[in-house]
């Protein structure tokens, strides 16, 4: 407050002060933009996850119906001491249908009967077959068994809807079916259990029988091939280009082309796979081996570019130190540069593989979009992958496939998180300071 403040420098002070408020305001605005952007993305992510989880969760449970079936050899149409093949041909559906008729003796009309049978999944006969194979002694006895309900019925029971008011239900069940279901519900003949079928089966036309196993195995095999091919090739290429290749026009051309390849639409790689690997080399169609090769071609540029960046980031002083001690060029790389670059290389690899895991378009071209019921046992078996399975189910008209779609997305996300977790662990192990 004294005269000291009012000296010649006060003009500068005033100006700085005036600009300071402006500068701080700008800083505040910038901070706000940042916080807004982050909260917006978190909100969108949350909405996405919430919608997927809320839609997908019901897929992990399945309604079972209790039925009393009489397994007489006569009804099954099998001889005594039937072989496995004879059992396979047994009239299981007839047995189930007759037990349904016994449960609801009033049902006489042909159309009504058909409606009644529709309450039980067609997979019920396989459950019966399994039971007889496991325990042939039950033939000729009456057993009380839990069978899978049909998808529409299952959805209604799972949603804990009020069956007394059919109009409130969003379902394709007829009024008759709802009445029967009400009757069974009152008798305690429904049970909602964990849907292990979803993790054990391949795809199916019947939603309640459709599972994720085939796609999961397909994805695992495909990624295995992708990793096995792309990681060593890409790292070797990056090391050669970064550490050994002479700098001339050829290496420039290679470099430009690698960068261009990273930007090529993935479906083009699918066309290449179709033309080269399937049509020319006659590799099996729809097989993870072809999918893996195509996807590794797609991920190679990503891994090469990030590996080169990681190698470049290793300080030259380390190379000099090793060279100065008489390490050969390859020793310099394998003993010092590569270990230090490994965390970065692994990050790039995981980004590439995550991209490959979510890729659909190139796999459509090589036939991995086919309807595959069997679970692939090797890389040459026909298979599909998780994102393609999502695509297929999203296209299906049955309501139950909607929840399967979301559930498949959840499985895909868990797969991705697991992969990333492994990468983080590996990176931690390789991380060294210098």
């Amino acid at each position: 407050m004294s005269a000291l403040e009012k000296t010649s420098s006060s003009a500068t002070t005033e100006r700085v002060k005036a600009s300071l408020t402006k500068r701080y305001a700008a800083e505040k605005r910038f901070k706000f933009y940042g916080i807004f952007a982050i909260s917006a993305s978190i909100a969108f992510l949350f909405i996405l996850l919430a919608s997927i989880v809320s839609k997908g969760l019901p897929a992990f449970t399945q309604t079972y119906v209790k039925l009393d079936v009489s397994l007489t050899a006569d009804a099954l149409g099998i001889p005594e001491n039937a072989t496995r093949d004879e059992l396979r041909k047994a009239n299981f559906s007839g047995v189930i249908k007759s037990s349904m008729r016994e449960r609801f003796p009033d049902v006489k009309k042909r159309k009504e009967k058909k409606e009644l049978y529709g309450l039980i999944s067609t997979g019920a006969q396989y459950d019966l077959f399994d039971l007889l194979i496991e325990n042939p002694a039950v033939i000729g006895t009456d057993v009380s068994m839990w069978f899978m309900a049909d998808d529409e019925l299952s959805a209604v029971i799972k949603s804990k809807a009020d069956l007394t008011n059919p109009d409130s239900l969003v379902t394709r069940l007829s009024d008759n079916q709802i009445a029967w279901a009400k009757d069974m519900q009152d008798a305690g003949e429904f049970d909602v259990r964990f849907n292990s079928t979803f993790f054990e089966n391949g795809d199916s036309r019947e939603p309640e029988l459709a599972g994720i196993r085939a796609a999961l195995m397909g994805s695992a095999f495909t990624l295995l091939i992708t990793f096995a091919l792309s990681f060593p090739i890409a790292v070797a290429a990056a090391i050669y280009l970064e550490e050994f290749a002479p700098q001339n026009r050829w290496t420039d051309i290679v470099e430009v082309n690698i960068n261009n390849l990273a930007a090529v639409p993935s479906i083009v790689f699918g066309l290449l796979g179709l033309a080269v690997f399937i049509n020319f080399f006659h590799l099996p169609r729809s097989a993870p081996v072809v999918g893996g090769i195509v996807l590794s071609l797609m991920t190679l540029p990503t891994i090469i570019i990030s590996s080169r960046a990681a190698l470049k980031a290793v300080p030259p002083s380390i190379r000099e130190a090793a060279r100065g001690l008489g390490a050969s060029p390859l020793q310099v790389v394998t003993h010092h540069v590569l270990p230090l670059a490994m965390p970065g290389i692994l990050t790039g690899t995981i980004i590439g593989l995550a991209q490959a895991l979510g890729e659909t378009a190139p796999l459509l071209m090589i036939g991995m979009v086919a309807f595959i019921v069997d679970i692939p046992a090797s890389v040459t078996d026909a298979a599909t992958v998780l994102p393609v399975q999502v695509f297929l189910w999203a296209d299906s008209p049955e309501r139950a496939f909607m929840e399967k779609t979301s559930a498949a997305i959840m499985v895909l996300l868990v797969f991705l998180i697991l992969m990333n977790a492994i990468a983080v662990l590996l990176r931690k192990r390789f991380e060294r300071r210098w």
């Binding site: 030259p316 130190a321 100065g324 001690l325 210098w434």
Partner: protein, 292 residues
């Protein structure tokens, strides 16, 4: 290629040299032969008519210089004078710079350094190098020192390797400080200790010559004094060529001193002679602090 770009080395500031007095500059321009005695009686390394080019630009002009057995030779001169470039030619560390070209003769015990039958990897095992910035590997102290013997197969078993490591650390005057944490990372040491670790790592290979490129420029005075002491001790077993910016350091540790200026070797003689009675005007200007 991940190498130092030649321009990085050439772009070191040289503008200070412009303040050289005219008479001295004239004397330099006329200079065709090094002042003093570049040769010694019993040389470990010899260089004759060495010219070094980075692309079109010549960095070293016709340098003749011997490095004697068991001597410390200091190379001094203003920034950009080529002393580091010359040093790095002595164990072919410049090979990795694609544009770098070396002509003339350089030899180690009479063997041509750039000859077809001399492998650069073997050469670097015989001519070790300590760098300006301490650069320990991202490994334990033990593994840092053991690395050279391991890749060259100098120890046939673990006990021998242990001996080499302990012996090298002792020679580098580091053993007592690190004997309790020999498995700790080399990077956990202080700057001065790291540099001594780098020296231990170099002598573990039992080289014949050690090249030191400003080994103390990143260190504090106490660590510097420790290293200088060490250099004096190491002279018993090795020939040492040291590039330094500090004239005091050159005076303290070396027996002979070579003064470089703009790529030419201006003067080389016994350290005492160079510092007390420089023959060339440029040398005198430099050591009296008139420029540089």
């Amino acid at each position: 290629m991940n190498t130092l770009a030649a321009s990085d080395i050439l772009n070191k500031p040289t503008d200070k040299v412009t303040s050289v007095p005219d008479t001295a500059q004239e004397a330099f321009d006329k200079l065709t032969e090094t002042v003093g005695t570049p040769t010694v009686e019993n040389p470990k390394m010899q260089t004759r008519n060495v010219n070094v080019f980075y692309g079109e630009k010549q960095a070293i002009f016709d340098v003749d210089l011997d490095i004697g057995q068991n001597e410390v030779i200091a190379m001094i001169g203003p920034s950009g004078c080529g002393k580091s470039t010359f040093l790095r030619c002595l164990n072919r560390m410049n090979d990795t710079i694609p544009t770098c070209r070396v002509t003339g003769q350089m030899s180690l015990d009479g063997e041509d350094l750039y000859g077809a039958d001399l492998d650069p990897v073997l050469l670097r095992a015989r001519v070790g190098m300590v760098f300006q910035k301490p650069n320990p590997f991202a490994k334990s102290i033990y593994d840092n020192v053991a690395y050279g013997p391991r890749i060259h197969g100098l120890a046939s078993n673990r006990a021998e390797l242990d001996d080499i490591v302990v012996d090298s650390l002792r020679k580098a005057g580091l053993y007592d400080e690190v004997k309790d944490r020999i498995d700790a990372p080399g990077t956990s040491l202080s700057g001065g200790q790291q540099q001594r670790l780098c020296i231990a790592r170099t002598i573990a290979v039992s080289p014949e010559v050690i090249l030191m490129d400003e080994p103390c420029s990143a260190l504090d005075p106490i660590a510097t004094a420790r290293i200088e002491e060490l250099i004096d001790e190491l002279r018993e077993n090795f020939a040492i060529a040291i590039v330094t910016h500090s004239m005091q350091q050159a005076a303290r540790v070396s027996q002979r001193t070579a003064y470089f200026h703009l790529g030419k070797l201006v003067e080389v003689d016994d350290t005492n002679a160079v510092f007390t009675n420089p023959q060339h005007e440029l040398t005198e200007n430099y050591i009296t602090g008139r420029f540089g």
